[in-house]
Amino acid sequence: MPYTIPLGPYHPALEEPYKVSVRCVAETVQQVSVNVGFSFRGIELLVQSREWVPAVTLVERVCGICSNVHAMTFCHAVERLAGIEVPARARYIRTIISELERIHSHLLWAGLAAEYMGFQTLFMEVFALREQVMDLLETISGNRVNYGMNRIGGVNRDLPDAQPIIATLAAMAETLKRVLVPAFLENATTRARMGGVGPLTREQAIDWGVVGPVARASGVEADVRCDHPYLVYQELGFKIVTQQDGDVRARVVVRALELLESIRLAIEALRRIPSGPLRAFEGMPRIPQGEAIALSEAPRGEVFYYVAADGADKPARVKIRTPSFVNIPALEAMTIGQQFGNISLIQASVDPCLSCTDR
């Protein structure tokens, strides 16, 4: 006899609130519905009451994990709207912070995935590694969350000496290759626990419009860093990581390999960073009437910003579309036909962010 179980909004696998109602027959999931909105803060509306400078501070609070990408993408849209050319050194610094943010986000997710599997030793290894990149971000920005690096026209702070950062990242890459990547790619426990679970075919991925590692794990070769180049990714020779299986394990493999690519990108940017100014202008920005869009590849996938200005000292409209907003609905496709006991792992494999989704 069919039965329905509500999971959430206080969730067994996530700290953020959302609700998944699952209808099952025996242990098999037949129907899924997702409810969000428990963390709604109205940031799109609030930002219309903030002047351009505090608006950057506000949009950085969309997410506590990928805060930098929100502030940066908002700045990109405003800079395009106003015709502001960001100096080369600032573009390199933005690239470096973006990749450090991706490393910490992917490691956070990898650690939680290990915990959901009951693989506590791997969780400890991953979080010890993550602490190193958190230290780097704190060294550069002074903060572990909400780095405050971006301003309209450039960045607020310069980098300290690059060599110690490069040395730390190189050591992290060695640990990743020696411990984390084999643990997720070759370990018998992880393979058995994740292989074939929560599949999303390439056709389904396109149909649901998913983005980021979720799409790439289903064989969709899409990444904003390549598809709509920004910052200095073209100069650094960016490589897209894809897998074909579309299951939980494929999502894990994509993120594990992207960690290595992000470290390579950050080190390459640190080696090539030119000298020069950090910002296009000093003082308050003057933003003319107009509108623009901007895209960035956040750790969870494509972030989209639309910004409109009417010549006033505040934005007229800011639209924010986060990757989780399009990835979470696809849980339906990944979950139907699966065992009930796998639902938490499948949900975690999407790396859903409700703070982003609800804004």
């Binding site: 969000v36 909105g37 709509h228 180049p229 494509e302 989209f304 639309y306």
Partner: protein, 151 residues
């Protein structure tokens, strides 16, 4: 973000966009195509963009003084961004949700924020609407005092 190198929208893409019923002037702003289309046939647009392998990234709602809502459909594919700008008629517009899965949540959000009626949406239930607020609360929000810095 710019058109990827060597991938500026070609004449064929422009011709297929121009053939969508209701499409007006195409404006290339370097990073994206912007299309003003007050009388846009949005279902025909959706079919044409699917045929062009373009993905609906999102939609933006903007409140207008006449009570209608400007709707911008943002489409993406590698090296190409296309933005169709149209408006509701009588507070309503055809839903893309029956044919385009990602449109479902997007339209529910715009319904919450601007009160737009998406005709044909299979489930226009609130998505993000906070308790105590009515659909369309982005139109006449309570003034939000900026932080004064005082405790």
């Amino acid at each position: 973000m710019n058109h990827a190198e060597g991938s500026e929208p070609d004449a064929d893409v422009r011709a297929r966009l121009a053939a969508i019923p209701g499409v007006g002037q195409l404006e290339d702003r370097g990073d994206a195509l912007w299309i003003a289309a007050p009388e846009l046939d949005v279902e025909a647009m959706a079919r044409a963009m699917t045929a062009l392998d373009c993905r609906l990234a999102t939609m933006t709602g903007l409140a207008r003084d006449d009570g209608e809502t400007t709707i911008i459909y943002h489409y993406l594919r590698r090296g190409l961004a296309v933005n169709f700008k149209t408006a509701t008629r009588g507070g309503a517009i055809a839903s893309l949700a029956p044919a385009v899965r990602p449109a479902s949540w997007i339209e529910r959000e715009i319904h919450d924020f601007f009160g737009v009626k998406f005709v044909g949406h299979p489930n226009l239930a609130p998505l993000l609407l906070p308790p105590g607020l009515k659909e369309g609360f982005f139109r006449s929000p309570e003034p939000d005092p900026a932080p004064s810095g005082e405790p």
